[in-house]
């Protein structure tokens, strides 16, 4: 039985456990000398973190026990994300596997797929990436053009994916591809588990306006996927993908962003925008509201209430909060933090776009939460 309320004593206990574990488990160099790590050392820390999560039992926090997980609910998951974000833990390479691939396979995969993939996701011996977005399929995710042509024993995949995190480190990709040119929209895509270590897979990093390279483009040229690696019925991959995405858009990403927003707003109120008395205090109030919005959404999820409504609100809320905070940071012009704010200001421009643009979030709210037919 997992925790259902943040005010249960069990929740406080769990938070203590997580917090002390996180601080002990952090890779040493990461903890002591993060600012000066080389790119190679950062990658090393990310790998160590993946191993630590597995060893500590935090890799499959919300996975059922029968698949090696802890069987916890949304509250424990949130507590874990809060504490690891606060400790500024590295972003393990195994995240997509743990959060997207694993849960999808558990819900929609075959027994064979579960046996083959789940253990290697948990111990991060195989890294996963997600191949949904394409240059022509962004907000309109169903417009996928990457093809999966049926051949004897499987599919041949051709096409291009984009905005793919961890692609250069990945052994596997969970992807949507167009398996039928005749069937109608939403019933013409198949959900495939693709081996990235094949000829014909070409990964090219994308440089963002902040200078970072968090995403890649991936090109597929005659890449094979066996029949056994089809998830769900052929041509019905859209339904499978929707399950994955409703997991993605939610409270845990918001919890990570809350930590980011809190740090920025603290800096504004402590230093850069201190003399203004302008938006600093109001941003802090909005930050507190975001925190409670996340708590509420998480308890509603734990209570099995309709929580679909929560994800879109949270997405809009944290992205606009961070954009407004970094805007004030740039305007404050504090010389000491000039570069910090410029970097985060530019990086924040992406936040109202990725994970579903804020326009799409508003569409979702009117369409599916308020249920106003078009």
């Amino acid at each position: 039985m997992s925790i259902t309320r943040f005010d249960e004593p069990a929740a406080a206990k769990f938070r203590e456990d997580v917090s002390s574990w996180v601080h002990e488990a952090l890779p040493t160099k990461w903890r002591t000398d993060r600012a000066s790590l080389t790119p190679d050392e950062v990658q090393q820390a990310q790998r160590e973190w993946d191993e630590a999560l597995h060893a500590g039992g935090y890799a499959g926090l919300a996975w059922p026990a029968e698949y090696g997980g802890r069987g916890f609910g949304p509250i424990e998951e949130l507590i874990y994300y809060e504490e690891s974000s606060k400790a500024n833990a590295p972003d393990g390479f195994g995240r997509i596997g743990r959060v997207l691939a694993g849960p999808t396979i558990i819900v929609a995969g075959t027994e064979a797929q579960k046996g083959k993939y789940l253990p290697r996701i948990l111990d991060a011996s195989e890294i996963w990436c997600q191949g949904f977005s394409e240059p022509g399929a962004g907000s309109d995710l169903a417009a996928v053009r990457t093809t999966a042509q049926k051949v004897a024993g499987g599919y041949v995949v051709n096409g291009q994916k984009t905005w793919t995190s961890f692609a250069q480190y990945s052994k596997r990709c969970l992807m949507l591809a167009k398996s039928s040119t005749e069937l109608r929209r939403h019933h013409n895509l198949s959900f495939l588990l693709l081996d990235m270590e094949q000829e014909g897979v070409d990964v090219r990093p994308i440089r963002q306006i902040s200078g970072e390279e968090e995403f890649s483009e991936v090109f597929f040229t005659n890449v094979f996927v066996a029949d056994e690696d089809l998830v769900g019925p052929e041509h019905e991959g859209w339904g499978v993908a929707m399950t994955v995405l409703s997991n993605e858009r939610g409270t845990t990403e918001a919890a990570t962003r809350l930590v980011e927003a809190t740090a920025q707003i603290d800096l504004l109120n402590r230093c850069c925008a201190r003399h203004e008395g302008l938006d600093g205090p109001r941003l802090r109030d909005r930050c507190e509201l975001l925190r409670w919005q996340i708590l509420r959404a998480t308890e509603e999820k734990a209570a099995d209430l309709d929580w679909f409504t929560a994800g879109s609100i949270l997405k809009v809320q944290w992205s606009e909060l961070i954009q407004d905070s970094t805007r004030l940071g740039v305007d404050s012009g504090c010389p000491e933090h000039r570069d910090y704010w410029r970097h985060h200001y530019l990086a924040s421009k992406a936040m109202s776009i990725y994970s579903g643009t804020n326009e799409i979030q508003r569409n979702i709210i009117t369409d599916r939460v308020l249920k106003v037919a078009r």
């Binding site: 509603e300 508003r362 009117t366 308020l370 106003v372 078009r374």
Partner: protein
């Protein structure tokens, strides 16, 4: 206390809503029987009956529902007073409202006929007022306080949370009306709900309403920060209603359609709390 309502609170809210819904009053002519129906049904005393185990969070749920109705009753403040003080049956039956001094007058925010009054941050008073105007404007009361029970800061914090929940109920009513209107109203050969600008106004009204509700819940958990929560929450509830008025277009600013009653009510609640920024 959790952010989630208990079964008792959810049940009370839906029963109260049913009664208010069938009350058939209007802002201009509220049904004076409404409070006695609620009171006779025992809904005014659920918080003082300790066996019920009603928490503040449950009172918020009832408060939100009561905000939907422009012919409102003293249910919210009566439930709070029942939680704070030992009240006798007569007091519970007549209902309790908070009052504020405005110059020489004592005014109360709810339509009330023969209610007891909790004096602003002063005390409980027995009064037999005749409320001049219901709901949207503070009603002057004829009788001055006869006894004093000081409201503590903690009381005030809870009052803020509950009034904020009323404001969310106001937003609920306007959002429902706006969705209905956007479906009925046609312009350029189609219902205006077909325009993305209208749809995004509705989405933003929903976002603001949900955030105001979160602020109410947070205020109930953090009485010490309740003034900040109220400031943020009331502004969000008003934003939600403003968007609903915009969706209504021309009829949105007519007295007849009456969306202003909700804005006025929220402003009055803020004024009773004395939370002038």
């Amino acid at each position: 206390m959790s952010t989630i309502v208990q079964e008792m609170g959810a049940m009370a809210a839906s029963s109260v809503r049913e009664i208010l819904d069938s009350g058939q009053g209007s802002p201009a002519a509220p049904n004076p029987q409404l409070w006695s129906i609620l009171s006779d049904g025992g809904w005014g005393s659920i918080s003082s009956d300790l066996e019920n185990g009603v928490e503040l969070r449950d009172i918020l749920e009832v408060a939100r529902v009561s905000g939907r109705y422009p012919y409102s009753t003293p249910i919210v403040s009566t439930l709070l007073a029942g939680r704070w003080f030992e009240l006798d049956d007569d007091q519970l039956e007549s209902g309790i409202v908070p009052a504020v001094r405005r110059g020489a007058q004592v005014v109360a925010p709810y339509y009330s006929d023969g209610v007891a009054v909790v004096d602003g941050l002063g005390g409980i008073i027995a009064a037999s007022p005749s409320a001049a105007e219901p709901f949207s404007l503070l009603s002057p009361l004829a009788v001055l306080p006869s006894s004093t029970t000081v409201l503590s800061e903690a009381h005030l914090g809870e009052l803020r949370a509950a009034f904020l929940a009323v404001a969310v109920g106001c937003a609920d009513a306007v959002i429902d009306a706006s969705i209905a209107w956007s479906t009925t109203r046609e312009q350029f050969g189609q219902p205006i709900k077909g325009f993305q600008a209208v749809r995004h106004h509705l989405a933003n009204a929903h976002i603001a309403r949900e955030q105001a509700w979160t602020a109410a819940i947070a205020a109930a958990h953090e009485p010490a920060r309740s003034a900040a929560w109220a400031r943020q929450g009331f502004a969000l509830a008003r934003t939600s209603i403003e968007l609903g008025i915009q969706v209504h277009g021309g009829v949105g600013f007519t007295w007849e359609v009456g969306l202003h009653h909700y804005l006025n009510h929220i402003i009055e609640l803020q004024s009773v709390l004395g939370d002038d920024q």
